[in-house]
């Protein structure tokens, strides 16, 4: 029995030591909470987001912090689930963060948004594209990235740069959640504006292990324009099947495609994917801050930054900007400062970052990217073209 008590007390002591070690943050730091999936099927995306947030925090701290005080990122794993995100938000609120950031998925963002409203801590969305997120009349939620409807409107708008005279038919292949189906349905509702005829709407579950039958069907439909919308692994699988079978589509134009705009996609397929377009997030290639982020990310993490992760970096910059302008460093004044934000220096391909009543970044926009010689090239808007 004695032996067992000993073992238990050793384990207990170790846990306590570990906890105190982890919790021994400087009291004088300003804490910002980060809620992202760090385990589960979206761990890649979530981890990248946190990585880029850390780069932003380090940059601000190395430049002297905010009014002499350092920033501290408190990271919690949402596991990609709503309940995980809710737990994380609760812990962070108790931990005294002045702002929450997150969450990569719309379902988690909804939950955190509600918690933010209740605890009166501002929530800056890194990535979560659902339109309904900002339709609750909440005062504490702010979103920098383009929503589903912004991406869809960008698509209808930018299509003219891709469309040729002989382009008549279009088919969509999209993952069936809020994001993929949301964009596909929005565009198909407005397809009359484009003069194209829809010949196929193919949806699939993002966790699928094969897309063979979908590719067979697409080959038979042979649309002039193929619009794929999905996450990295499923869209990469789609492209693999298309390339393997030598199926040629006249034009491929992704919309917020998790694979097409990712540097890894180019590593995997090289010149085989030249000519593919994507309307997606992107950094502003002409900003010197962008160079810093790209370089630092590659140095610290050994891979190119995935495009969605720029919103991790920018979310911290937006909170820091609000902190500099806020009267005091309590969460409420940070919220008011966020609502009054007008940020001119940033890394996004858009005008100033300004939030409207609902918390939406009114100038948010995607860009049209084309893969040329295994590189991403911005085609439109021209002021961000990096040719």
């Amino acid at each position: 029995m004695k032996k067992r008590y000993f073992a238990v007390s050793v384990i207990f002591t170790m846990i306590m030591l570990c906890l105190t070690a982890c919790a021994s943050g400087d009291n004088d730091t300003i804490k910002i909470g980060s809620i992202h999936p760090l385990t589960g099927s979206m761990a890649y995306e979530g981890q990248a987001m946190v990585n880029s947030q850390k780069i932003a925090i380090d940059k601000i701290n190395s430049e002297g912090g905010i009014n002499g005080r350092k920033l501290e990122l408190v990271v919690k794993d949402s596991m990609g689930t709503s309940s995980g995100a809710a737990n994380a938000a609760l812990k962070l609120a108790n931990d005294g963060v002045i702002a929450l950031t997150g969450t990569y998925t719309s379902s988690s963002a909804q939950v955190v948004s509600r918690m933010a409203e209740k605890t009166k801590i501002p929530f800056v969305v890194t990535v979560a594209s659902s339109d309904s997120l900002l339709k609750n009349g909440y005062k504490y939620t702010f979103r920098i990235q383009p929503s589903v409807s912004v991406f869809s409107k960008n698509f209808l708008d930018y299509l003219k740069f891709v469309k040729t005279d002989d382009m008549k038919t279009v088919a969509f292949i999209y993952e069936n959640s809020n994001y993929g189906a949301g964009i596909a349905e929005y565009i198909s509702d407005h397809i009359d504006e484009t003069g194209l005829e829809i010949v196929g709407m193919l949806s699939y579950a993002a966790t699928t292990s094969t897309l063979s039958s979908e590719v067979t069907k697409l080959a038979a439909l042979n649309p002039d324009l193929l619009v794929p919308i999905g996450y990295y692994s499923d869209q990469s699988l789609l492209m693999k099947e298309i390339l393997e079978r030598d199926i040629h589509f006249n034009t491929i134009l992704g919309c917020a495609n998790g694979a097409f705009s990712d540097a890894k996609f180019l590593d995997a397929y090289g010149n085989q994917v030249d000519g593919i377009y994507d309307i997606n997030y992107r950094y502003n290639p002409n900003s010197s801050e962008t160079d810093y982020l790209l370089k630092t990310y590659l140095e610290e993490y050994g891979v190119d930054i995935p495009v969605h992760a720029i919103y991790g970096y920018e979310s911290i910059m937006v909170v820091a900007d609000a902190l500099r302008r806020a009267d005091t460093d309590d969460a409420n004044s940070v919220r008011d400062a966020l609502a009054a934000a007008d940020i001119k220096e940033h890394i996004l391909p858009q005008g100033d970052i300004v939030f409207d009543e609902s918390g939406e970044n009114i100038n948010s926009a995607g860009v049209l990217v084309r893969i040329e010689d295994a590189k991403h090239v911005i085609v439109y808007p021209e002021e961000y073209a990096d040719k």
């Binding site: 699939y204 966790t207 292990s209 094969t210 897309l211 063979s212 039958s213 693999k240 393997e244 995997a268």
Partner: protein, 292 residues
């Protein structure tokens, strides 16, 4: 029948074969140990990463990495059984189940720590393009996968029914006390059975490396599918698992073609529920005899 439909059937059978092999391992472990191994998907992912690592770091063809992967999975399976599951063999079934579930999380998170959550993919030289036969196109990786699946299934069959060790495994599965009285070292036999089950799923995973991008939690996608297939074929039934795997592959691909991919998951689990309700021993199962 249009050529597209034939293509869909062929794709379904090919992919179904891989599912079958993964499910075979699960079925075998259940047949011998009466345990549902929830770490099965994670073991599959370990198989994938072992092939990925060997093939990228030593620059060898991923298929040549297969033997190392097999050895590793056998050891993992054997050790898990001997040192963890064996210790709680008399505990209630749900405790054993929770143990394997806990293992799944440990394996997944280890993979996350070691390999980061980044997607990894392999291009096998000379296999980038599909082979064209008639109007059909089939990826070489899938043809190889299907061939290996058949060979492995036959080998497992020969082992179980034609070797003396296999006889012991079956004896331990039917009546462990009786087997023990006959001088069979039941604990060791169970370790071996678990090891072989793990190897089956590991091979299935390895075969998928040239087909898809891998990431640490990919096994979750296959875990439930394997479970459906093993139940459909009758838990512990070797050929049942093979045929059910192909059936599920076909359901997935035909429904994907005819109705759209969102339907395939729905239909797979609808089939699963129907089987559970109306024929719980599976399509071919006498079930496992000991329970009667």
């Amino acid at each position: 029948m249009s050529i597209q439909f034939v293509q869909t059937l062929v794709d379904g059978i090919m992919m179904g074969g891989v599912y079958a092999l993964a499910a075979l391992g699960l079925s075998l472990i259940f047949g011998v140990l009466k345990i549902t191994n929830f770490a099965h998907g994670a073991m599959m992912t370990i198989g994938m990463y072992s092939v990925y690592v060997i093939s990228t770091y030593y620059g060898v063809n991923p298929y040549l990495a297969l033997p190392v992967s097999i050895l590793m999975l056998f050891l993992i399976g054997y050790l898990v059984q001997r040192f963890l599951i064996q210790r709680i063999e008399h505990a209630p079934a749900h405790n054993q189940l929770l143990l394997t579930l806990g293992l799944a999380y440990i394996f997944e998170n280890l993979l996350l720590i070691i390999f980061t959550p980044n997607y990894k993919s392999l291009q096998v030289e000379g296999m980038e393009k599909a082979i064209k036969i008639g109007g059909l196109t089939i990826a070489p990786a899938k043809i190889i996968a299907f061939g290996v699946v058949i060979v492995v299934t036959v080998l497992v069959y020969l082992f179980l029914y034609k070797s003396s060790l296999g006889l012991k495994v079956r004896a331990a599965a039917q009546n462990d006390d009786g087997a023990l009285l006959m001088g069979i070292r039941v604990k060791e036999i169970r370790g071996i059975a678990f090891g072989i089950g793990a190897v089956c799923t590991g091979i299935a995973g390895s075969l998928l490396v040239p087909v898809m991008s891998i990431y640490p939690t990919l096994g979750e996608v296959f875990q439930l599918k394997c479970f459906v297939i093993a139940v459909l074929g009758g838990m512990g039934n070797l050929w049942g698992a093979l045929i059910s795997g192909i059936i599920i592959g076909l359901v997935e691909s035909v429904s994907g073609y005819a109705l759209g991919g969102s339907w395939s998951e729905l239909l797979i689990y609808a089939v699963f529920i129907l089987i559970l309700v109306f024929k719980p021993t599976g399509l071919f199962g006498r079930g496992n005899r000991r329970d009667k």
